[in-house]
């Protein structure tokens, strides 16, 4: 992997992590992370849309006049979201039932429009694909951590498996989502800073 691609990976997963560092896509990050499995479902659906929209937007970027780039991006993103919604409805019915409300809302996830505008529209297809993939994985990872913490603390279970009767119910409710997100974002930044300081010292 060339250093440019490695950089894209690092940016997406850690340095510019959509949830913990950029605070993008907060609505699904807070609302669907009541359990780890919901978080993975939402993360994977968003990653699929992000990868596909980044690829298409980078391919057609030179054809789109500057004035209509936002509506054009929205049409592309909304089409992929509708596709994912229909595919999930047909093939992963149980997950679709649980996440149904939030799938259409991926259209307005600012992470996707943000990456289209700041990266895909200025880069060729391969970097755009990688950016979509790693930003999506960073988003999924963050949602998974948040979902796991909330499920473990709030419901005494992990991935649906019950292991404790101690339930801090507030963590499943919206206030708990904010609390868990704040604490995790703080921890993530703390660890990232330590890590980057060490790397700097070494170099």
């Amino acid at each position: 992997m060339t250093s440019k691609y490695k950089d894209i990976m690092k940016q997406g997963l850690f340095e510019q992590n959509p949830v913990f560092m950029q605070a993008l896509g907060m609505c699904p990050a807070l609302a669907t992370t009541t359990s780890a499995i919901n978080a993975i479902g939402m993360g994977v659906a968003t990653t699929c849309v992000l990868v596909m929209s980044n690829i298409v937007i980078s391919i057609i970027r030179k054809l789109i006049p500057d004035k209509i780039r936002i509506p054009a991006y929205i049409v592309v993103i909304a089409s992929f979201v509708t596709m994912i919604d229909m595919l999930m409805h047909g093939f992963t019915y149980e997950l679709w039932k649980t996440l149904g409300l939030f799938i259409p809302l991926i259209v307005v996830n600012c992470l996707i429009l943000g990456r289209a505008e700041s990266f895909a529209s200025r880069n060729s297809t391969v970097p755009a694909f990688l950016d979509g993939l790693f930003m999506g994985l960073g988003f999924t990872g963050a949602l998974f951590i948040l979902g796991s913490v909330r499920e473990i603390l709030g419901n005494g279970s992990f991935m649906g498996m019950q292991f404790s009767e101690v339930k801090l119910f507030a963590f499943v409710l919206p206030p708990g989502a904010y609390l868990a997100l704040g604490i995790l974002a703080g921890l993530f930044t703390f660890v990232s800073n330590k890590f980057s300081n060490k790397t700097k010292e070494k170099s």
């Binding site: 054009a72 509708t82 409805h89 047909g90 019915y93 039932k97 996440l99 149904g100 409300l101 499943v172």
Partner: protein
């Protein structure tokens, strides 16, 4: 002027390609979606045909419908009602719909189970349920309820309606409870109880469904299931069940 035409044409091309691709995908998933919904309905029918106390099937295993054809054998067409655009019954008093067709299963001991599919508006969209009412002579019992669609309810709040511990709170309800009309404990103004016997008695005799302790912050979704069940009972009464 030329620039405007050009930008318009570009946007039109993008939307045309998007529309065409979506129509292709729709054609591809149309059948899997219909199949997934049918399987969900069949699963729900099986679930509601269980005894609410023992959990055993109240009908022989080989009579449980397993596909569209075997389900159609149990279609019930009450006199004076017809299915128009999939709708069997609506009411002026209760918001919601009973979908057609309704199903009727003859059980042992002259008992009959009526299985109905219906919906009522929830928080984000309709909440669809399948329910069974077991009738013997003049007695009627709401014997089972399964939620089949709640995709527009908020995950972690309204979507909790699919949890077993929540669904189990809605049945069984005897005739006095059904006649009074089902209502949530919050609406009825009673405090939630941890005594199972009291909870059962309130539900069976007064139609009080206690959900406030197992489903916090989502009264509208819990209420929508109550509405759908009340609508179904109203439909059965108007269809002359029980006689």
């Amino acid at each position: 002027m030329r620039e405007y035409v050009k930008t318009g044409l570009v946007l039109m091309m993008i939307t045309l390609v998007a529309g065409f691709t979506l129509s292709l995908i729709y054609e591809l998933v149309k059948e899997p979606i219909a199949e997934a919904e049918l399987q969900e309905k069949l699963r729900a029918v099986r679930t509601v045909l269980k005894d609410p106390t023992t959990g055993q099937l109240i009908i022989e295993e080989d009579r449980i419908p397993y596909d569209r054809e075997s389900l159609e054998k149990y279609v019930w067409e009450p006199e004076g009602f017809e299915v128009v655009d999939g709708v069997l019954y609506t009411s002026a008093k209760i918001r919601g719909t009973v979908f057609g067709p309704a199903y009727k299963f003859d059980l042992v001991d002259d008992r009959v189970a009526y299985v109905l599919v219906g919906e009522s508006p929830g928080y984000g969209g309709p909440v669809s349920i399948v329910s069974s009412f077991v009738v013997k002579d003049s007695e009627i019992v709401l014997s089972g309820m399964e939620v089949i669609e709640y995709a527009q309810e908020t995950p972690g709040l309204g979507a909790n309606i699919s949890h077993e511990e929540v669904k189990d709170r809605y049945f069984p309800v005897d005739r006095p409870g059904l006649e009074t009309g089902l209502k949530l404990d919050k609406t009825a103004g009673v405090s939630p109880t941890t005594e199972k016997e009291l909870m059962d008695r309130r539900r069976r005799e007064e139609g009080i469904i206690q959900t406030s302790d197992v489903m916090t912050g989502a009264t509208i979704t819990a209420e929508s299931v109550v509405n759908a069940l009340n609508l179904m009972y109203e439909f059965l009464s108007e269809a002359g069940v029980p006689e």
